[in-house]
Amino acid sequence: MIDIVGVIAPNLLWILAIVIGGTLISISVHFIPVGGAPAAMAQATGIGTGTVMLAAGAGIAGIIAAGAVMSRNQDFGVVVGAAAVGAAVMLAATMIVGTWIYAYGVGVMPVSAKVKYDPITKYRQDLYVSQGTEGHGIPTVTYVSSTIGGLMGGLGAGLAYYALMMVGTYPYAGVTPLEVENLNLVGVVASFVIGFFFINSVIPSYNIVGTIEGFHDPKFKRWPKAAVASFIASIPLAIVAVVAVGALALVGGL
């Protein structure tokens, strides 16, 4: 049996960081234009897949960016920033390619059905919505929204990743502290953050009932509920994660 209290006590700050990361991930999902099956048939605005796939794709891109940077530079801002930018670039790339496919492949124009004028470009929207659909493609406001969502989700993932790496490299009594290059540590931390990301992107996707267009969508106002839910859910998950990663450090990283 490992010393659970001895692992948790010095890492309370990092537990808080993981919980904040989970809450950020949860809020970020509300920015990402998830269209689900209707969008796959160009009958709703957004990308034609589920929240979990889009948000998790962005989150994993963020974790890869954070992991790659962390082996070279352990500065907090650099690691978390790399994760945010990695996730945002991944989502922006998905959105731009999606726009090409909707415009040149499906033959629909990017238009939102939730607002009359695009809040950013001020272009008229409602005239261009095909009958019987709820918009199609990725209009400018949605594109911008998804990039913000990517930044935020990546920030959350990077925060959780950095916090768990710090827990793993903390000098516990009687053991040699692990190096950030320790592959076993990186593997365990990455697996945890991915599981954590999946849980915290499913909770808000229940909150938005599957589809959302971005921050201009009326459903966006529901975000506090998901944020509270993820905050509470992240507390036990963070404690469990810190214990398991700390245990790895206690056995010397194997």
Binding site: N184, G187, F198, A244
Partner: protein, 262 residues
Amino acid sequence: MSEHKVIPPNTLAAFGVVGGLAGVYLAYFLKDMNSVFVFFGAIGAICAAVWGADVVRRVASYGLGTGVPSIGMLALGMGIIAVLFGLSLGLGPAGPFVAFLASCVIGAIIGIISVKVVGMTIPIMVRATTEIAGAGALLILGLSIVIAGSLDYAIVVKEVVTTGFIMLIYIAGGMAMLHPHNSNLGPDETQDRLLALSAEKAGIAVVLSGFASVAGMGAIAVTMLIGIFTWYYFFGKYYGFVKRDAYKVVDIGMLPTEEEMA
């Protein structure tokens, strides 16, 4: 298909819990005698996957609003966190059981939060997330012991997590739980067809994890054979059920040749 008999949830839950835990523990204790016996873990994983697929079937038929894959990914996400936690405590043989319990607790917390805070109206949500997290944990435990040949935290981390096979378990195991309902849902959904598809998918996951195993040639061969046999048997059963449930199965023939088109 109203005359169709449905296996009650409690029976399948018992099947999953007992089958899964028995499989994991038989593998855990017998592997010291001969590493071939890790194949019991694969059998436990198949039981857990069938149980999980039935839970997904029950909860997703209420309409989650987000697509079925979300709950499958949720299950494995909770499972991974609970399994690594349970094994990391260094409790010896109690580790897998603690991992299973921890996953059920995490599942219950997530279920209660989604009902109380997010405001989901599915009446069986708490029970479903608890069960699905347990099934996910047993599935990961079963396939991990096949790959690593042990449930020692150090060995699982080195052989399953660091090598990246955890993602194989994540997606292939998740498929066995979420895909059956996703592809069978609708008014003509029947439970036996769905469970047969789940076992077939679990067979594929077992073949893959057997291939990735480091427990020795005997274990690799036996596990892969079990996986191939499971896949073959349940694919045949599934095909039979599809033909039974379909209104009519017609042969459309080959594609017309260019001369016939002209």
